[in-house]
């Protein structure tokens, strides 16, 4: 009986520690939020959205437009490849090929961002002479987003109920038609979730962009190569180490904006998930 009481006391201690850890984790998270919000939100003035970065401060218009342009181009590059490869995995691959495919995608998601950035720098920016450019930056982001998009599409397509496919086939639909009329519509919310998560990842990336997209003080143009593109994370990383209060304010504003964008996309993505999928099918 006594040992049971001792065990109970020890257990209570451990549970206390466990809850303390949870509280500490949430407190640290909130402190980061508070830090960014307190310093960033006051700096987030409306002019920032309409003026370009200039000198020691200026605005964020170029970085915002560049971020969206890079992420959108990255998505554009990855969307077909990501969904296509998931489609093959689910529809055509043998179980062994399926395992290998998923494994590859997982491994790709573990490649360090700087390795991708350096590879593209050497191969494209210098090697092919593209210079810092939209296409090089977008490709870097695309390599990052690919696993997220592909994994989400794979999971979503895998959940298409067999009865629906069989029903369609029984009604005389061609297999390709089944894919486009039955499987895709069913999987669409899951695929969109994956795209949103990939967008969140893309918005927050820095390392692969520094040596691919470069940086520009001006609004991005349509040029695929030879024109550097600005983006928000660059502002955070460079302007915080300038010795000017104005530069710091810009860095904080960019950080706050980034957090808003990333969390916004994550919340929308989670909304999709709650709405469409049971817990066990979620992707992160």
């Amino acid at each position: 009986m006594r040992s049971r009481r001792v065990a109970g006391a020890i257990g209570a201690l451990w549970w206390g520690l466990s809850v303390a850890c949870l509280v500490a984790a949430i407190a640290l998270l909130l402190s980061i939020f508070a830090f960014v919000a307190l310093r960033g939100l006051p700096a987030l003035r409306p002019q920032l959205f309409f003026t370009v970065t200039h000198g020691i401060a200026g605005g964020l218009a170029n970085a915002i437009a560049g971020t969206f342009l890079l992420v959108a181009s990255g998505l554009l590059l990855v969307i077909v490849v990501g969904i296509g490869s998931a489609l093959w995995t689910v529809e055509y691959a043998s179980p062994r090929a399926q395992r290998l495919m998923r494994f590859t995608i997982d491994v790709l998601s573990g490649v360090p961002s700087i390795v991708v950035g350096y590879f593209l720098y050497v191969a494209l920016v210098e090697g092919l002479g593209w210079g810092f450019s939209l296409l090089a930056g977008a490709l870097a982001l695309a390599i990052f987003m690919l696993p997220y998009v592909s994994r989400a599409a794979d999971l979503a397509l895998s959940t298409v109920p067999r009865e629906m496919r069989e029903g369609a086939v029984a009604l005389g639909a061609r297999p390709a038609t089944v894919v486009f009329t039955i499987a895709f519509p069913w999987a669409l919310p899951g695929i969109l979730t994956g795209l949103l998560i990939a967008t969140g990842i893309g918005l927050g990336e820095t390392a692969p962009l520094i040596y691919t997209a470069g940086w520009s003080n001006y609004m991005p143009t349509l040029a695929l190569t030879h024109e550097p593109v600005g983006y928000l994370t660059y502002v955070v990383w460079t302007y915080i180490s300038q010795p000017f209060a104005k530069s710091h304010a810009l860095a904080y504003a960019a950080a706050a904006l980034l957090m808003i964008l990333v969390f916004g996309t994550n919340l929308v993505a989670r909304g999709f998930v709650e709405y469409r999928f049971p817990r066990s099918q979620r992707i992160h």
């Binding site: 998270l29 995995t89 490649v111 360090p112 590879f119 980034l258």
Partner: protein, 334 residues
């Protein structure tokens, strides 16, 4: 009569879709293979020039661009005085990530247990959402917080306190200096990998331990005993897999570490507070210097560093995914 072209078209559409999608599927293989192959080929002159000294040397010197002549090894030339030893950076990478895991693993397990067993059901969605939001914070924002909040705190409070009261512990005493360094980098990495681990551990516990937990309780265990003797052992593989994925993340993390590591060069940290450097951080911070090397050897040596990092993270990830595959597809998250 109509059936024939119909049939051809049907096979055709199917074949086209199949060919198109398998090409897409091949892209991810190709990307991994191309990256590795390209970097190895590009780094080849450096691999020959540096030899094994690359892995054992502690001096990183791109050579004197204002000197005359050059040095050669195995037929490849670099600027005079050039010497590329990556051990300081390899050590820094493994040390920061290793220390991170020492703190992050128990921390993440305890947080996950609290999330599963100690949070009121009504609050669970909120707590879960917070953990997941944490994993979405961009790396530069962690770095920003690290530079402005964490580093001064280490320099002004933690360091002096440790020196005064904990100096007898090896690797702890000796003063904090600037606050940039091993401790700051580790702290940031713990924050960054914890949510990844918590999410996975929470899910594997929830997906397979309900019955084990109840069985243990029925045998008269306390809740804690049920967890430590029943639940945790049953999800060992899931925990190990998440640990390895987090380790892989920590190894490759760039910006946040770069912003707080102090950029050590040619020296190992003598205590927790001294500057370190990681492979990823060095690639970012040294590329512009490397570009001034007219022989190109510095750039190629950075590529060799990238290959080393690639190989380390690739192996960690392959092991991690293999471990996780063994358990359950649900455990497979990143």
């Amino acid at each position: 009569m109509i059936a024939k072209p119909w049939r051809i078209q049907r096979v055709g559409a199917q074949a086209v879709l199949r060919t198109v999608t398998i090409t897409m599927a091949a892209v991810s293989f190709a990307v991994i293979f191309l990256m590795l192959a390209f970097l190895v080929i590009y780094a080849y002159p450096a691999i020959r020039f540096n030899g094994l000294g690359f892995l054992t040397g502690t001096i990183w010197n791109i050579g004197n661009q204002y000197g005359s002549g050059s040095v050669s090894h195995n037929g490849y030339a670099a600027m005079p005085g050039a010497q590329f030893g990556a051990l300081v950076f390899i050590y820094g990478t493994l040390m920061t990530s290793g220390l991170t895991m020492v703190f992050a693993v128990p921390f993440a397990i305890l947080v996950a247990l609290a999330l599963v067993y100690r949070v009121h059901p009504a609050l669970k969605p909120l707590a879960n959402a917070l953990v997941e939001l944490m994993s979405g914070i961009p790396s530069v924002v962690y770095g920003l917080w690290g530079m402005i909040v964490l580093v001064p705190w280490i320099s002004n409070s933690v360091g002096p306190f440790a020196e005064a009261h904990l100096g007898f512990i090896p690797f702890v005493g000796g003063g904090a200096g600037s606050g940039d360094g091993l401790l700051a980098a580790t702290f940031i990495l713990v924050l960054m990998v914890t949510p990844i681990m918590v999410a996975t551990i929470r899910d594997v516990i929830q997906s397979q331990s309900e019955t084990i937990f109840e069985a243990s309780m029925a045998l008269g265990s306390t809740t804690w005993q049920a967890v430590t003797r029943g639940v945790l052992p049953s999800v060992r593989a899931g925990i190990l897999g998440s640990l390895l994925i987090a380790f892989g993340r920590a190894l490759g993390e760039t910006m946040a570490v770069l912003m707080v590591c102090g950029g050590a060069i040619n020296i190992f940290p003598h205590n927790l507070f001294q500057p370190v450097n990681t492979i990823a951080a060095v690639i970012v911070s040294q590329l512009e210097s490397a570009l001034t090397d007219s022989s190109g050897m510095a750039q190629r040596s950075l590529a060799e560093l990238a290959v080393v990092l690639f190989v380390i993270t690739l192996s960690v990830n392959v092991v991690a995914r293999t471990v996780l595959r063994g358990t359950d597809r649900d455990g497979n998250r990143a």
